[in-house]
């Protein structure tokens, strides 16, 4: 990051190669759309480049990147007109599927649509904890909230998701 701060584009390229998966995963899990996710992840890296002269290494770069991507995603959601769904789309039935692969695809689609139906900050809390494995302290930095606030968000997100994902748990038993 110090090289990037000095305007070294080669250092920036190394940074992108090393951390692109994290930025992409957060953006994809948040939006559920590959094109939108790529756009947001790209914006996040450009923001890192623009802000590099003012960057001070107070935490791991990974945490800083999560913070930038999270802000981009939440800002993007605020600007975008929300799609209101009175009833969540049907995604899983008891009908048998042709094979395990089809099951997995259906399960992933269902989870993604259940995530999409959550309020933006609940969804981001789930993404950062369950898909990225961040601790409460790291989530608090990324989301610009207190540790207690992110723990509350997570608890509410779990409550909101649980009924929707109950069927998968039943299949697992």
């Amino acid at each position: 990051m110090l090289g990037v701060r000095d305007g070294d584009l080669f250092a920036f390229e190394q940074l992108v190669l090393r951390h692109q998966a994290e930025a992409w995963r957060v953006a994809y899990r948040f939006t559920g759309d590959a094109a939108e996710a790529e756009d947001l992840a790209q914006q996040a890296f450009l923001k890192v480049l623009d802000a590099a002269p003012r960057y001070t290494a107070t935490a791991a770069f990974r945490t800083y990147l999560y913070q930038v991507v999270t802000r981009r995603c939440l800002d993007h959601r605020r600007k975008k007109r929300p799609v209101l769904m009175e009833v969540l789309p049907e995604c899983a039935t008891d009908a048998p599927t042709p094979g395990e692969e089809a099951d997995a695809v259906e399960r992933d689609q269902c989870i993604q649509s259940a995530l999409a139906a959550l309020p933006a900050d609940y969804r981001m809390a789930v993404v950062l904890r369950y898909f990225e494995g961040l601790s409460a302290a790291e989530m608090a930095v990324a989301m610009g909230r207190s540790v207690k606030a992110v723990e509350r968000l997570l608890a509410r997100a779990r409550d909101a998701l649980a009924p929707r994902l109950e069927l998968f748990r039943g299949k697992m038993r």
């Binding site: 790529e38 399960r107 409460a136």
Partner: protein
């Protein structure tokens, strides 16, 4: 990763406290081990569902597109708002040397010009005034005023004519 290790790591995994490499190993294990997955479901049902999902890989060529955007953005920024400090940071060593050389030559030229145009010394000033007085007396046929006493009206007139400050004492 074996089952006992995986089950020992479940709590840290759920708190988000596992290092990245151990986390990846545990996730890979959970996707293939039903026993450990059921253990996880007992503690956090949501985690047991979400851990089984796959995120698509980063789109191919993503880093190339980011870099292209960065280069284009950087050239736009330089064109719009040129900053000497930013230029200095981005310039190569030969450019630094060239800039330093231009600075030294500029300073040397400024010093030389300043030295050439420095104010005349007191002696040179007096000499030039005496020369101007002689020239004025000869040019305007004012020889008769040459012996005028210092401070007289005639002397003041001569002082005005030769640009001399004050009259002779």
């Amino acid at each position: 990763m074996d089952c006992p290790t995986a089950q020992t790591n479940l709590s840290a995994y759920l708190r988000g406290d596992l290092p990245l490499d151990q986390r990846s190993a545990l996730v890979a294990h959970l996707r293939g081990c039903r026993i450990c997955l059921v253990r996880l479901a007992a503690v956090d049902p949501l985690a047991s569902v979400l851990v089984q999902t796959e995120t698509p890989p980063v789109p191919s060529g993503f880093e190339r597109r980011v870099l292209a955007a960065a280069r284009s953005r950087r050239s736009q920024v330089v064109a719009v708002a040129w900053s000497p400090l930013r230029w200095w940071r981005m310039a190569s060593a030969p450019m630094h040397a060239a800039a330093a050389a231009v600075l030294v030559v500029g300073l040397a030229a400024g010093l030389a010009l300043g030295w050439a145009a420095r104010p005349a010394t007191r002696q040179a000033q007096e000499d030039s005034q005496a020369m101007a007085l002689t020239t004025a007396l000869a040019a305007y046929n004012l020889d008769y005023l040459g012996d005028a006493p210092g401070g007289s009206l005639a002397d003041s007139y001569l002082a005005l004519l030769t640009n001399r400050k004050g009259g002779r004492q």
